[in-house]
Symmetry: C2
Subunit: 345 residues, 2 copies
DNA sequence: TTGAAAGCGGTACCAG
DNA sequence: CTGGTACCGCTTTCAA
């Protein structure tokens, strides 16, 4: 039988109420009594019964704010599903999610929503932050006000957030290079098409790719790194130009959006089977291109897990005061080729 | 506020006890009253508070039996970790796991352990069954005695088990072929090394591989399908023989164990960089060979998830009477190459 | 600063 | 077959 607060109370010659107040630092307990209680609890290895505490606090509701982008609907819908699944598993704890979505990375609205949530008295925040000074300071301030923050999918260093849950962009860039090397027998002439060199995540994917190729001494030649602004038309035109200019190109590496544009250009020049194409993400259209053999492999970041894991970490922190045991939680890097694209598990 | 059994009791003019008995089919309720209660509950969309029921049943302990192989320690340790994590998440429900491990697929001991568990009064069974008539009948019998059975990692068709949680061996064979085709530009001459053609899972991997190559019209030539009995020495000798016999071989496909033997033979002939090798599993040694470039890719089956998912399904069934909503739960098929082998998340 | 006690929602036993 | 009731372990309010 597990230890109960009742048992601790008896051993410490106090009431259950006092035990509860002491162990949760709710205040109003004399330091000596508190210390005595904590000591006994530690010795016995006391872990509170979560079912009982959930039940006792049913009237209370705790709100967790969520601020994520809304573009690339499918992507963030997936993340939301993960968040909602975690919420469901914790349904008896009366946790309410307040989800706000901004179009693109929008500092102004992120700040606005954070303040709105603060007024509502949120108990924790999950955010995919824009990496700016203002947001960073806001997160620091929340943390100092005892409101835990977890960054999700994008991070801000030194913002004092509880932890980060997301992708390792650098490593996924390396993985893309590893795949390309396997496919092209360690020798390729390629163009890199990135959304914007200013996007940290995308530039990490480029950097990881290049460093891996160098480190492994692959025989590679990057003819160009071009920006498509994550736009399909831009992407289409640039790809067309590149493909015409470099006749012996044998690979394309796409780090962001604009995949449709790339594919359209490839098909127009009837090169879709000749050029090795590696992309990121598992948007339905991307997967279609993998299935029809236009894209050779796409590297995925388990966005669903990101939502699920981050929400669980937040809930456990708020409810059980359980600290995350890592600073960064990286979700797995999945390689999807034609054969292992499956209906979701 | 969520619906409570109290509210239903009032609406149905009965006591909470009767509501509980009716909704859980515990018997001792007249059909009319039971129907009335169920109707009201359904209309209100009643879902019992799991925290409360966990709390109420703290005294009761429910035992779930687990019977899995013990060979390839690392593999099943991983599965056990998943099982234990699920147990921890349900720790307040007083669930006890009774784990038995058999060496190899051992019908005699599986039966013995099942019977032992029955005597102890287990409430559910998770098993990686040997596919024999006796075990099949035993599972049917358990199910008929209201003891739910979930098959884990290996399945028996028509055994009336609640569901199967595991790997899609056929599809993972296809995935292996897909990778090999990418690496060898859709043209390869290979030998297949399998543990035993009698092992269902391994023969499915072979079948999936071959069918995929045919379907996609790859230019392939299988010089031999040989059995190594999952034994390293056997594996070593056979690989050596094959490599000497077929000088223009460019690929090896290993569906089971004996990977060390294959690698030893390859290294001895200094062919480790020249021949494309695809294996299964993420045993530490296998991953080492991937990292050192001897194995090009290894296909993994997320054994941890198998343990976690199956245990959760079992617990939810026993506690909340929640039926699995699929007959087969396939875990993801992961492709691991040098770059996306990461310390576990 | 502390104790006592009333719940939270469901379960199970006993009495009728 | 049904109602009443005493828990399960923790939280919170009220009173001292």
């Amino acid at each position: 039988m597990a230890i109960t607060s009742e048992q601790i109370a008896k051993l410490a010659n106090v009431s259950r109420g006092t035990v509860d107040r002491a162990l949760h630092n709710r205040g109003g307990v004399s330091p000596e009594v508190s210390a005595r209680i904590k000591k006994i609890a530690a010795e016995l290895g006391y872990t509170p019964n979560t079912a009982a505490s959930a039940l006792a606090r049913t009237k209370k509701r705790t709100t967790v704010g969520i601020i994520i982008p809304a573009n690339q609907n499918y992507f963030f819908d997936n993340m939301k599903s993960g968040l909602l699944l975690a919420q469901e598993e914790f349904s008896n704890y009366g946790i309410q999610l307040e989800i706000f979505q901004t179009y693109g990375l929008d500092e102004y609205n992120q700040l606005k929503y954070i303040e709105e949530l603060e007024k509502k008295g949120m108990n924790g925040l999950l955010i995919s932050p824009v990496n700016t000074e203002k947001i960073k300071n806001k997160i620091i301030q929340l943390t100092e006000n005892k409101i835990p923050v977890i960054t999700l999918n994008s991070d801000i260093e030194k913002s004092k957030r509880l932890c980060y849950v997301g992708h390792d962009y650098y490593q996924s860039g390396k993985t893309a290079e590893g795949m390309m090397a396997l496919i092209n027998n360690r020798k390729f002439k390629l163009a890199i098409i990135t959304g914007s060199t200013k996007s940290l995540s995308q530039s990490q994917r480029v950097e990881g790719f290049i460093n891996n190729a160098k480190k492994r001494s692959h025989d590679f030649d990057i003819v160009e790194i071009c920006e498509n602004n994550d736009d399909d038309i831009d992407s289409y035109l640039q790809t067309l130009r590149i493909l015409k200019e470099y006749k012996d190109l044998n690979a394309l590496y796409i780090t962001g959006s604009g995949i449709y544009g790339v594919v359209k250009a490839l098909k127009e020049l009837k090169l879709e089977r000749k050029i090795c194409v590696i992309t990121f993400g598992d948007l339905p259209r991307t997967l279609e291109y993998v299935i029809e053999d236009t894209i050779d492999a796409t590297i995925c970041q388990n966005v669903f897990d990101q939502g699920y894991v981050s929400a669980k970490l937040m809930f456990n922190y708020i409810i059980k005061n359980e600290y995350p045991n890592k600073d960064k939680y990286y979700t797995k890097i999945d390689i999807r080729i034609k054969e292992n694209i499956l209906p979701n598990y």
